[in-house]
């Protein structure tokens, strides 16, 4: 690639190549006193001058493809170059498996780039469901280096929905979470799979086992926010079912009894109380035992919710303002 130092020394001016002999380079129209003026190196300027020339005449030819390859190697974020490249590829009816190799090489330099992933999606869409396996493998390789690459996750979700390949996806989530249970992207992917996979029968069909899975992760590490949000998400828009799953307050209670890392357990109980949850005496006692001197007496459930806000305001000072605000809107919300 021309972007590496070694190749740069070996740069051959495009003007000296026979295939570009009849192309008149088109300089950038930067005006007499440009701002944010980048001190372009000669090889970049020359490449872009040739690109502009071929692009302005919309020449859909092999040498146009070559010039986009060069331009992308210098700056893979130039969306105009990528868009022109797609037009050239279509006109030439090019073999798009080569394009997969090309994007994989570009990804080695910078895997966080909108244009690269958008292009890859375009290519994979053209190749159809045969491409599913390679796409899943490609993203897997990316996650090996950065398991939270946002673009790669979006791509993987698109592949699953557009091209298929759901068979091992839940296992893959399990594997990633075993490696790093704090990987929120993997939790998000798990949610995506259990809600969208055509093989699992939808969220309701798997909810029971998913609640167990999330609670197990909570038991292992109660300060890990991801399984708490996942657990809540399993009951999205179904507050009655959420209120009636006794495993949730039980999980909270276990955390409270340990008297440490109970921020999310309290927050979850607060959410339940605001929806009308009636706590048993054991839960009330566990909350009461965490009270600070300024928490006040605990009588009604509404007092209990207030007490939780007070404890959280104390134990979670970064969000003291938030817990004060939550406390201030309790009476209305808790009178369910």
């Amino acid at each position: 690639m021309a972007s590496s130092g070694e190749d740069r020394r070996a740069w051959v001016p495009l003007g000296s190549l026979p295939e570009f002999a009849d192309v008149t380079p088109l300089p950038q129209d930067d005006g007499p006193s440009p701002v944010v003026a980048i001190a372009y190196r000669d090889e970049f300027r020359e490449t872009m001058d040739y690109f502009r020339s071929l692009y302005s005449s919309r020449e859909l030819s092999p040498r146009s493809l070559l010039i986009t390859t060069l331009a992308i190697s210098f700056n893979p974020a130039n969306y105009t170059v990528w868009q022109f490249r797609r037009q050239v590829l279509e006109a030439l009816d090019a073999d798009l498996t080569d394009e997969l190799d090309f994007t994989e090489r570009v990804a080695k330099g910078n895997a966080k780039n909108y244009q690269l992933w958008h292009h890859r999606r375009w290519v994979a869409e053209k190749l159809g469901s045969d491409a599913a396996y390679r796409e899943l493998e490609f993203t897997r390789k990316i996650f090996y280096l950065d398991a939270k690459n946002y673009h790669a996750w979006s791509h993987r979700q698109w592949v699953l929905q557009a091209l298929g390949g759901w068979e091992n996806e839940l296992d893959y989530c399990v594997q990633l979470l075993e490696e790093d249970v704090l990987n929120n992207s993997a939790w998000n992917q798990r949610y995506f799979v259990v809600t969208k996979s055509p093989l699992l029968g939808g969220l309701k069909a798997v909810r029971d086992s998913e609640v167990d899975y999330a609670i197990e992760a909570i038991n292992m590490n109660p300060q890990n926010e991801s399984p708490w949000r996942y657990l809540r998400g399993l009951y999205n828009d179904e507050n009655d079912a959420w209120l009636n799953d006794s495993r949730v307050p039980s999980a909270c209670l276990r955390v409270l009894k340990a008297k440490r890392n109970f921020k999310f357990a309290l927050s979850t109980l607060l959410d339940l109380l605001c929806l009308g949850f009636k706590p048993n005496q054991e839960i009330r006692d566990a909350i009461t035992s965490l009270r600070t001197p300024d928490s006040g007496e605990v009588g009604s459930d509404s007092d209990l919710a207030k007490s939780i806000c007070s404890i959280l305001g104390h134990e979670d000072p970064m969000r003291a303002n938030y817990w004060t605000w939550r406390s201030s809107k309790l009476p209305q919300a808790a009178e369910v």
């Binding site: 006193s33 700056n75 969306y79 398991a147 979700q157 938030y322």
Partner: protein, 460 residues
């Protein structure tokens, strides 16, 4: 309270834990050093190094080294990051440089409408947003009249998708950024109409995740940048109440971590740029908030803003903060969020007023997030004395982080102000009061007085 980092990384740690441990160690070291300084030196290290920032920014606006080719398709963004930063610092451009900026940006305007990443590049929604915000920030009729609004409108219509979303450019990606940049531009230029707003709310709504935040596309992970873009878009089209705002608030306040800065996603590392994306989201929510606040709010609540003992400057402020709490205004009926609903998109009069109505809303809850400690993170961990701001200790400065750290700082400083442009009380500004930046319009992230000037200009 989160556990403090253990003295050494353990082989049992996951990648997330190890990375987090290293950042906490670096940030902890900085706060510890700060705590040990005598008061005068503490005050100095909290100062915004105005002159250094201005020099760094102004030099960048003129010329950039070869390594910037990676941003050769983002030059209007470079203009915006720099010009907006200078505006926040209250530093005007000299007339010649201003002319050069206007001339350069007009060369990025596509003959058929919209602006590209450089002269001759395809028009792109994000760079169109950057150009419009830059030209508004420069202000004046030469700058504002250089925008061909009819053609921008045509470009926006061409990018509009039947699903309600927008494409970034011809053949480009469809996501929440595209919605925000399109709607923000349209709103600023007073060309937002029913056709542009149609079904945008449905698309954004489909991107709110089970976590509460908003993702770039349906199914993706909740993310600070997209959350700001999604919420701001919904406010601009008068449909914010369609979102689950309670869950959104709960998600965003949990993104502020022990380092005092914000992370972009759950269990990711702190990054100064989210001071704006997440802090700005909080600032927007504070204006929407009267929903669900009971009449007796604030009664008998002890607000103990106690924070890590190493953060001495902020803990000194906690008492004053309590004073504010008791003085905080009761729910103001005029601030009640107007329920727009899906049908409101058919009323373009509403759309035109969304900006102004929103600005006039008073924040009634104080700050939802920890605006004081966030200022500490920005000033002590992101700021570089030689000029510029960075993601986190160990990273280098850049114009993007300089822009969004300063924008986040401005959000914090005015977070408790009743009106967008009323000067904050001294204790709301961490460091010396001359750290005070110019206020911004929180939906567009442009300096407020310039927004108002443009608003009048384009109303004609």
């Amino acid at each position: 309270m989160e556990a403090s980092p253990s003295p050494s990384p353990s082989s049992m740690m996951t990648v997330t834990e190890r990375d987090q441990w290293m950042v906490e160690r670096e940030v902890g070291r900085i706060y510890l050093l700060f705590a040990e300084l005598p008061p005068a030196a503490q005050s100095f290290s909290l100062e915004i190094q105005r002159d250094s920032h201005i020099e760094y920014l102004t030099n960048g606006l003129r010329r950039l080294p070869p390594s910037f080719v990676s941003l050769d398709a983002s030059r209007p963004w470079l203009c915006y990051w720099i010009i907006h930063s200078l505006a926040l610092l209250g530093e005007p451009l000299d007339a010649e440089l201003e002319d050069n900026v206007i001339d350069f940006l007009s060369r990025c305007q596509d003959p058929s409408g919209g602006y590209g990443g450089g002269p001759g590049q395809l028009p792109h929604l994000a760079t169109t947003y950057a150009v419009v915000n830059s030209l508004i920030t420069l202000g004046g009729s030469r700058s504002l009249s250089s925008i061909n609004r009819d053609k921008v409108y045509n470009f926006l219509r061409q990018m509009k998708q039947p699903s309600g979303g927008f494409r970034m450019h011809d053949g480009g990606e469809i996501d929440v950024r595209a919605c925000y940049t399109a709607i923000s531009v349209a709103s600023n230029l007073n060309i937002l109409d029913d056709e542009l707003a149609e079904n945008v709310g449905d698309f954004i709504l489909s991107c709110q995740t089970y976590e509460g935040g908003i993702a770039g596309e349906p199914g993706s992970e909740a993310h600070g940048g997209y959350t700001f873009c999604g919420l701001a878009t919904m406010i601009l089209i008068n449909e914010a109440d369609r979102l689950d705002l309670s869950r959104l608030i709960d998600w965003v306040v949990f993104r502020q971590g022990v380092e005092c800065g914000f992370q972009g996603r759950a269990n990711k590392l702190v990054d100064g740029c989210y001071s704006f994306w997440q802090g700005g989201t909080c600032a927007l929510l504070q204006k929407l908030l009267p929903f669900g606040v009971s009449e007796g709010q604030g009664e008998g609540d002890e607000s103990t803003d106690s924070i890590d003992s190493s953060l001495s400057a902020a803990s000194n402020l906690s008492e004053q903060e309590n004073d504010l709490k008791s003085a905080s205004p009761q729910v103001d009926e005029t601030c009640q969020f107007k329920h727009g609903g899906p049908q409101s998109a058919s009323c373009s009069v509403n759309l035109g007023n969304a900006n102004d109505n929103f600005l006039e809303r008073r924040s009634v809850v104080g700050s939802l997030f920890n605006d004081l400690t966030l200022q500490q993170y920005i000033l002590l961990c992101s700021q570089l004395p030689e000029g510029g701001f960075r993601d986190k200790p160990g990273k280098s400065r850049d114009f993007y982080h300089t822009c969004y750290c300063l924008s986040g700082l401005a959000v914090c400083q005015y977070s408790r102000s009743k009106h967008a442009n009323s000067p904050p009380l001294p204790w709301a500004v961490v460091g010396p009061y001359f750290n005070l930046l110019e206020p911004i319009h929180p939906l567009h992230n442009v300096e407020l007085s310039k927004y108002q000037e443009a608003n009048e200009f384009f109303a004609r």
